[in-house]
């Protein structure tokens, strides 16, 4: 790991809680208090583009949610991933809209599908689902309902159960 990602990791050394390298991709986990400073430091280091902002539900692991920021530097090209971990009962993250206005819709999408609230977002509403939708579909405990087959004489088997989930190490 060289270049801008390594420089950023060195610069954020105090804030980084965890550091992972997998397939030449650098992932830095920072705490929620340091997030905005870390993003600012990344932008100063040349990562001018917020390519993606998303979340992962790690249920049943704790802390439950990871908010993932993927940053891209254009010249020379480099990528780095920053992460924040939050608990389900305290799912709030400071908003990055002050740094990148383009984060606005991405944060609305994460709020819509995960229920993570972004503090300081100018207009946090649902974006993909109707305003009166209940629940947050990308959470792992959201019930998955599939359409029943409309004729008799077959054993009901929903598409997602045709190949069952096989946990690792089996």
């Amino acid at each position: 790991m060289t270049g801008a990602p390594a420089r950023l990791a060195a610069r954020l050394a105090a804030a980084v809680r965890e550091r992972a390298e997998f397939r030449d991709e650098l992932t830095l986990v920072v705490s929620r208090e340091d997030l905005l400073e870390a993003l600012q430091a990344a932008r100063a280091e040349g990562f001018v583009m917020l390519t993606d902002l998303t979340a992962v539900d790690r249920h049943p692991a704790r802390p439950r949610f990871e908010v993932v920021y993927l940053l891209t530097a254009l010249d020379p090209p480099a990528r780095v991933r920053l992460k924040v971990r939050v608990e389900a009962d305290d799912a709030t993250v400071p908003s990055a809209t002050g740094l990148w206005p383009g984060a606005s819709w991405l944060e609305r999408e994460v709020y819509d599908l995960f229920g993570i609230v972004f503090i300081g977002h100018p207009d946090l509403r649902r974006i993909l689902l109707p305003d009166d939708w209940e629940g947050h579909p990308l959470r792992k405990d959201y019930p998955l309902v599939e359409e029943p087959v409309q004729f008799r004489g077959h054993t009901p088997k929903v598409p997602s159960q045709i190949i069952p989930r096989v946990p690792p190490g089996q």
């Binding site: 993927l70 984060a103 999408e109 993909l128 579909p137 997602s160 190949i163 989930r165 096989v166 690792p168």
Partner: protein
């Protein structure tokens, strides 16, 4: 939404409006004829692909990507299989990579032809619309010849391709590419120096380079504003670093520059395909890894081991190592990336589709500010959104 006062009028545009290129709804705030606010409303085509992908195995998920960005299906499939291959730490054989590249670049030409046709018919140039679809039809015929499908191919596999190219593929592609420059010149003759086209697109929907970066725009929208960022050059994938091609860049970031950038990209794609056809060497099109690729049919009658591998792959799928990867490709609309989190089981924990149209559409209010209602159509066409890509 500001209150409806005597000064501003709220005008609803869409989701059935023919020039919104899909189910996009725009709330426009008008002062007279000048737009002072635009609020895109999306989600009418939200299908829940990301949730759906968590409930299926990696192989089963191959059917979803082409349904997300349905105008450039091969590029979308390439993005997904590259992400899974990166997760597994394998690379497809050289012949498979070259074939992927040829089909992806043809997809790019096909997608830009749709852009050109729809942008033209939005300004009532219906002849160009028909010519573009005539050319796209030829590309779709080539795709049908390869994969048996015109749109939702499912031809790429994790680790390679479904099968090798059919007989007569190369001459047919060459014949099409022979014709293409003449057609492109014809469209340029009809549009580029056309006074109406110039007046309607020059200086309309201007997006500065700084704004484009802050809103996370990629693709022709960003390059039209003058930032030479292309995933094929910046983060080469699938062997693009071995091909000679240029990145067209605009200057002013208006609709006309984006049109010029896309026209040039079609010519560059043709250049890449011609080089790739010359380098197409015989060889396998699937990795030789029994944990990933299905064994050939002839092996199944001879070796018990092959039968076991086959059974495991069909009844369970592949088990990638735990970890997370992001792989991006350059789609006709910008950077299309797949972020996959794996926990080592046969299903992904999370698949995130980073779609270019979603971010590009965010910049629409910036482009429309102080424009007129007539410019809205031009602006939407110049972003070249695909609503399946926006809503996923």
């Amino acid at each position: 939404m500001a209150e409806l006062t005597r000064e501003t009028l709220v005008l609803n545009m869409g989701p059935q409006h023919p020039s919104t290129h899909g189910v996009l709804r725009l709330l426009l705030e008008l002062e007279g004829e000048v737009i002072v606010g635009a609020h895109p409303v999306i989600g009418y085509l939200h299908t829940g692909f990301e949730k759906e992908m968590e409930t299926r195995t990696y192989h089963q998920n191959i059917v979803f990507p082409p349904r997300i960005e349905y105008l450039a299906t091969f590029i979308e499939e390439q993005a997904y299989v590259l992400a899974v291959e990166k997760l597994l730490g394998i690379t497809a054989p050289p012949r498979a990579q070259t074939i992927r590249l040829i089909l992806a670049e043809l997809s790019r030409i096909a997608s830009h032809l749709v852009y050109l046709g729809t942008a033209a018919i939005d300004l009532n140039v219906s002849s160009v619309f028909m010519y573009c679809f005539r050319d796209r039809e030829q590309i779709l015929d080539i795709f049908e010849m390869v994969s048996g499908q015109r749109m939702m191919h499912g031809y790429f596999r994790i680790g390679g391709l479904q099968w090798d190219l059919p007989e007569g593929f190369v001459p047919r592609v060459r014949a099409f590419l022979e014709e293409l420059p003449r057609h492109l010149d014809e469209y340029e003759a009809l549009l580029t120096d056309n006074l109406i086209w110039r007046r309607r697109t020059e200086g309309v929907a201007v997006l500065s380079a700084d704004d484009a970066l802050r809103y996370g725009c990629t693709g022709p929208v960003l390059r039209g504003s003058g930032v030479p960022y292309d995933v094929r050059k910046a983060f080469p994938y699938g062997g693009y670093d071995q091909y000679a091609f240029d990145i067209p860049v605009g200057r002013r970031g208006d609709a006309f520059d984006r049109y010029r950038v896309r026209m040039e990209e079609m010519r560059q794609s043709r250049r890449i395909v011609l080089q790739a056809l010359d380098r197409l060497a015989p060889g396998p099109v699937m990795v030789d890894d029994p944990k990933v690729a299905l064994p050939p049919r002839s092996e199944l009658v001879r070796s018990m081991e092959a039968v076991i591998h086959h059974f495991k792959l069909v009844s369970e799928g592949i088990h990638p190592p735990p970890g997370e990867v992001y792989a991006a490709v350059e789609s006709p609309r910008g950077e299309k990336g797949y972020y996959i989190v794996s926990d080592g089981s046969n299903r992904p924990v999370r698949v995130r589709v980073r779609s270019a149209s979603f971010n590009n559409l965010q910049a629409l209010p910036v482009m429309l500010y102080r424009g007129t209602v007539a410019d809205v159509v031009v602006a939407i066409a110049s972003i070249d959104i695909v609503l399946g890509d926006v809503d996923r």
